[in-house]
Every structure is written in C-alpha cells, then in structure tokens.
C-alpha cells in the first residue's frame, strides 16, 4: 500500500506538473491539458507502432509536436484573450474538446492503442511486486521535477519565467517579453503533459476518455496544492495519491475517484488559494 500510494502520488504529480507550470507563469488555466495528454500518447503510438520509428524518436517527435501545438494555442488564440480569464478557460476547454472528439470521430477506440513498457517485468520492493515501468515513472517524475527546479532557478529563460510569473509589467520594463514567455510556458507545459503520457500510458491502454479524467485530476491536484506552486503540486499529489489508495483499501474502491473531488471542495472551502498557493491570498485576508 505504501509503495503503490507513493507511485500513484508521483503519477498524479507528473500529470499536474505541466498544468501548474503554465498557470504559474502565464496565468492561463489550460483546460486542453487532458487532450494534449491523450494526443501525446497517441502520436507516440502512431510513430512507434504504425510508422515503425524507434521509441526514443517517436517520443521526441510526439513531445515536440504537442509542444508546438501548445505554443500555437497561445500565439494564435490566447494572446487575443489575455486577461479575460473566463474566455481563456472556455477557449482552451473548447480546443481540448475539439482535439478529443476529433480523435474519437477518427475511430480511436478499442484496446489496441497501447504503448509498450520501456522495460517489461517487475521487481519486489518491501515484499510487493512492482512493475519496472512504475519505477521508471517514479524515477523520471522525480528527475523531471528536479530539472524544472534547476531550469526555473538557474537559467536565464527560467528566471525570465519567474519574472513574468511575479509581475509581467515589471518584467516588461527589464526587457522580458511576457507574451513570448507565456507562449513558451504553454509550450513547456504541453511538452510536460505529453511526456507524462508517454511515461504513464504503458501501464494501460490509450483511451480518448482519459483526456477528461486527466484534466479533472490535474485540476484537483493544482487546486489543492495551490495553482502556481510546484511544491504544492507535489504535496497535493501525495495527499491525493495516498487518499485514493487508502479509500480503495479500507473504505470502498467505488469511492476512489470521488476522493480527489471531495478533497478539492474541502480545500476550496477552507483555503481557496490551495495549500501553498498565493493567488487569492489577498482576497482571503480581506
């Protein structure tokens, strides 16, 4: 239970990382997040299985395409809606729906859409057998979070990201173009979610319906942790990951998917900015 709770927590953190990063920098809640997850997985499947490309090339190609799509989404759609939060949410959600429903209408259904695990087999940890793919997810998840931390704190571009996240007007006065940075944040967020898809989807099959589920889980993690806080994402992922496993183990598996939503509601009631978020702190104080 401890082992699988940990793995599930890292999976949740991976899923939500891109959403949190995009929102933290550009303040855009990318509701197309779930559809980009499915698209990333499906493109990888296409390059790998249909086109016969090597796994690494397939992953790179899929992640790049989804990244470009994320950037294009900002450049051609969101840039015109900046500041109109509701319009941003509706437009990204609409785009996500279009992507998912297009895939559905193209006949993406059934169980043959599956990415093979990077390394098959399982090993025993604390007396419980765990698939090696799950361990790869944990390793890759922690590695990605570390890379993001280093990128944001120790590179020029990362510092520019933080500058825009703190105040885009001030960032503009020191020569940082907030629109360009926001576009890049959408691109990086999209690349992150497609990478998480490549890591997670070998655990099952690729289904269009995953898009809605991933969006919901990302929202739950980010709202609980604080929309723009990477540390909050990790903390919330652990709360939800263990809550899901404990609920399933000791209460009822049928409630395991209700738990994230329930946690989200409780946190919204108690601390609307999330556990580590600052977004609404001022309003809360007032």
């Amino acid at each position: 239970m401890l082992v699988y709770g940990f793995i599930n927590s890292i999976i949740l953190a991976l899923i939500a990382l891109g959403f949190s990063m995009t929102f933290g920098i550009s303040r855009v809640a990318n509701f197309a997040h779930g559809s980009l997850y499915v698209l990333g997985g499906l493109l990888t499947w296409f390059f790998l299985i249909k086109a016969g490309l090597p796994y690494v090339i397939s992953v790179i190609a899929a992640v790049m395409i989804v990244g470009v799509l994320g950037a294009a989404m900002y450049r051609f759609l969101l840039v015109r809606l900046r500041g109109l939060e509701l319009a941003e949410v509706i437009s990204t959600f609409a785009l996500g729906l279009i992507i998912l429903e297009l895939m559905r209408s193209m006949g993406i259904m059934g169980f043959q859409y599956r990415l093979p695990p990077f390394v098959p087999g399982s090993v025993s940890i604390m007396g419980t057998y765990v698939g090696i793919q799950r361990l790869i997810i944990v390793g890759a998840g922690l590695f990605l979070m570390g890379i993001i931390y280093l990128f944001v704190h120790h590179t020029r571009l990362g510092l520019a990201f933080r500058g825009v996240a703190q105040d885009d007007h001030t960032a503009l006065t020191v020569g940082i173009n907030p629109d360009r940075i926001s576009m890049l944040s959408l691109m990086v967020g999209s690349m992150l979610v497609s990478l998480s898809a490549v890591l997670i989807l070998p655990l099952g099959t690729i289904s269009v319906d995953d898009g809605y589920d991933i969006l919901l889980k990302s929202l739950a993690v980010c709202i609980i942790g604080g929309l723009e806080s990477t540390f909050g994402v990790l903390a919330a992922a652990f709360i939800l990951g263990y809550a899901e496993v404990l609920t399933s183990m000791y209460i009822s598996s049928s409630l395991s998917m209700v738990v994230p939503l329930l946690c989200m509601l409780v946190i919204l009631l108690i601390k609307p900015s999330g556990l580590f978020g600052k977004h609404k702190e001022l309003e809360e104080r007032i």
């Binding site: 259904m109 057998y129 698939g131 589920d213």
Partner: protein, 418 residues
C-alpha cells in the same frame, strides 16, 4: 435516323434498368432499422458494422418480402454517447428520441449500450410504439418489463446477465472439481450489468462452499487496482473474477501480471477479449486467462460453423477481425430475427410484429434464437438455444473450453501455478 437511334438506345436503357433488380428494388420504400446506441464504444461500433452487414445480406437476397413487394432495409443510426463516462442518461434519451422523430425507424435493434439507459429508454419505446431488440444486459430489464408487460411489450432483449452468471458458475465448478480452487476475489466495474453479475456470483460462491475473499467495484475510468490485487494476494485467492468493459481495465490485467498475483483471472475483461489482445498486451499477460464471450460468433467456433461463418464474413466485409466479446453477433442475428418477423407478420404494424418476434425461431450465429418472456433463452447446445462461450488463452490463441458441446479443450491450470 440519328433521332431514331437515340430513341432505340433510350428504350433499351430503360428496359435494362426496369428489369434490373436494383432499380425495381429502389422503387420500394425502404424499411428503416434504427440503431440508437453509444457508437464510439468498441462493442457497439462493431455491432453497427454487423448490423450493416446483415442488412446488406438481406438486401442482396431481395430485401424483406412485405405485402407482395420486396423492400430493402436501411440502417439509420445515432450515437447516443450513453456508454461514455459522464454522459447523463437524459442526453442519451434525447438522442434516441431524435432518431425516432427524424429518421422514423420502423424498428430498433442493438439499442442503448448501457443498461441504465435501456431501462429509461423502455418508456420511450412504449411512447413511440417502437418494437426493439436490445442488447444491454441488466436483470432489471425483466423486472421492469414484468411491472407492466402490456406497456413494455415493445421491448425484446438478447441477453440477461443471469446467463453469464450461470456460465461462470459452471466454469468455477470445473475449476473447483479439477484443481480444488475454492477461494475467489471479485472485482467489477461499478455499472448495473457488471455489479449484477458480481453480486449473483458472490451469492453462488457463498452457497457453494467457496470463500469470497472480497468484492470491489471500481468506477468507470479507474486506472489503479493495486488495493484489490494486494488484498487478493494477501487472502491467497486462487481465482480473480474481473467483470469489466471499460478501456482502463487493461491496466488491471497488466497490474495483475506485474504484481505476480497467483490467481487466475476468470471472468469478463474486454481488453483481453479480442484476437489482437495477445499482440497488444503480450502472450505472457493473456496466457491462462479465462474470458467469457457473451455470445458465440464473437469468437469463432470450430464445432458450430454458423459462429465461424459470421466471424469470417465480418473480417471479409470490414477487412479486420472483430475484437468485441459482446454485441456484434447478437446484433447481426437480431436484424435477421426482425426481418423474419416482418415477413411473417407481413406487416410493420407493431402489434403484429411483436407477436411474430414472440414466435420467432431462428438459427443464427449465436445459436438457436427463441424468445421467452421477451428475452432470448440461453443454454449450452447451439442447436437448441443461444450460447455464450468461455475460452482460455493458450499459446496466444483463444481456445473454447465451455460449453462442452463446442469446447476444443479443457481449462488448463496455468503453468505458473503448477
């Protein structure tokens, strides 16, 4: 001269067209077969193809003979999306009503994908006097039908979950007798048909000397089954009984393999149903798994040729083998049953059609089809009744193991259990 030649050509052409069966056929008003279902699910999308195939075969033989004319069948479908997670039943009902109002079908086959939608749609069928042969499986269908048979007489159904329970009971009895298995862990999808099978089996296990180590229901879309697998492992269950038709249940099979849970999966798990499953998930994952196809025909049967004929005809028509274990063959047969009833009644009048379906006796890909109390009777001999098929994955192939009359081998104890 030129004018006379043109006239001759025109007369010849007209004569040719008039004598051609296609044209005399198209002059007749088609009989519209409505297919309101959640058509972006594997099972129902393949079922729609099977329905189209059946209609094409009937049309190729001259259509439905009605009132001295041959009328072609026309398939009119609508995607109700009722099987997709999060889609409210009311939305699915609106789609069904839209089909009724706009396409004006003469009868319905396949029907709603989810039992929950079928139960609600029964009132719509009554309202529009729409004779229907449905596939959703909940036992509550017959409960509702029995509350007012006159009102719900328009509804027929191809399979009751109780027959799946019956087949699973006999399969489990074999496992008990042959290998001494007596401890089971049940995991089901939290939808009506699956929980009905789970609860039915749980009651039987408890009465039959089996120990039920646990029963968990997972919401549609769940993708982590570690808690159930851990509990099954801890309890020493020898059999894991999954009942799922959702895409993410593929994760259950993979997680079962990864966690090396020493229990044989015996039940209904869609992702491991089709012929491509071994290729998709790997031979090591599917090997030894016992799955139940809800009708013959969805799995070819060497000992019952009509099932194999349908399976092969589907592959020939659509260029690939069907992968669903539920719906295509029964949907295919239901078109023939409906067309036969129309001919027998010599009318599309609902009252006459109902009577004709009640008296139907048709040998199809799923076995002999006869209705009792508006539901098909299932048994174990396809010459007498419709049948389901239990099969086991052996060396990457699906080998029928029950009912005995179509079995091509025994249920083997998986190598890793020996």
């Amino acid at each position: 001269m030129r004018r006379r030649m043109s006239l001759s050509v025109a007369v010849c052409l007209f004569g040719f067209l008039a004598l051609s069966p296609a044209v005399s056929f198209s002059a007749e008003q088609p009989i519209v077969i409505g297919v309101p279902s959640s058509l972006k699910m594997l099972e129902s999308s393949e079922a729609l193809k099977a329905i189209i195939m059946a209609a094409e075969e009937i049309n190729a033989k001259g259509g439905v003979k009605l009132g001295g004319t041959n009328r072609p069948l026309k398939v009119a479908s609508i995607d109700t999306r009722g099987g997709e997670p999060g889609v409210p039943i009311s939305d699915a009902l609106l789609a069904i009503e839209k089909l009724f109002l706009e396409q004006k079908p003469d009868a319905v086959v396949l029907g709603p994908f989810r039992s929950e939608v079928l139960l609600a749609a029964m009132d719509l069928y009554s309202k529009y006097k729409m004779v229907s042969i449905n596939v959703a499986m909940t036992p509550k269908f017959i409960e509702k039908y029995n509350t007012d048979p006159e009102k719900y007489k328009y509804c027929f159904r191809m399979l009751n979950a109780k027959y799946v329970v019956g087949y699973l009971m006999k399969t489990m009895s074999k496992l008990n007798k042959d290998y001494g298995f007596n401890k089971v862990y049940i995991v089901v999808q939290d939808v009506l048909w699956a929980t009905a099978i789970g609860n039915g089996m749980k009651g039987w296990f408890e009465k039959s000397g089996w120990q039920v180590a646990g029963m968990d229901a997972y919401p549609t879309g769940a993708s982590d089954f570690s808690s159930s697998l851990l509990k099954a492992q801890k309890a020493g269950a020898q059999v894991l009984m999954p009942i799922f038709d959702m895409a993410s249940s593929g994760t259950l099979a993979l997680q079962w393999k990864d966690m090396r849970v020493p229990a044989v999966p015996v039940g209904f798990i869609s992702p491991l149903m089709g012929s491509k499953s071994a290729e998709t998930f790997g031979n090591d994952v599917v090997e030894g798994v016992v799955n139940i196809a809800f009708q013959a025909g969805n799995v070819p049967l060497a000992k019952y040729p009509p099932a194999t004929d349908f399976f092969n005809a589907y592959k020939k028509r659509w260029g690939q083998e069907l992968q669903a274990g539920h719906m295509p063959s029964e949907a295919y047969d239901s078109v023939f049953v409906m067309a036969g009833a129309m001919e027998k009644a010599n009318s599309l009048d609902p009252e006459k059609l109902i009577k004709a379906i009640e008296e139907a006796d048709y040998n199809g890909s799923i076995g002999r089809i006869r209705f009792k109390n508006h539901e098909i009777v299932f048994g174990e001999d396809p010459a007498e009744t419709a049948i389901l098929v239990v099969y086991q994955w052996k060396n990457g192939k699906r080998v029928p193991v029950f009912p005995d009359i179509v079995a091509e081998g025994p249920i083997d104890k998986p190598n890793w259990m020996k």
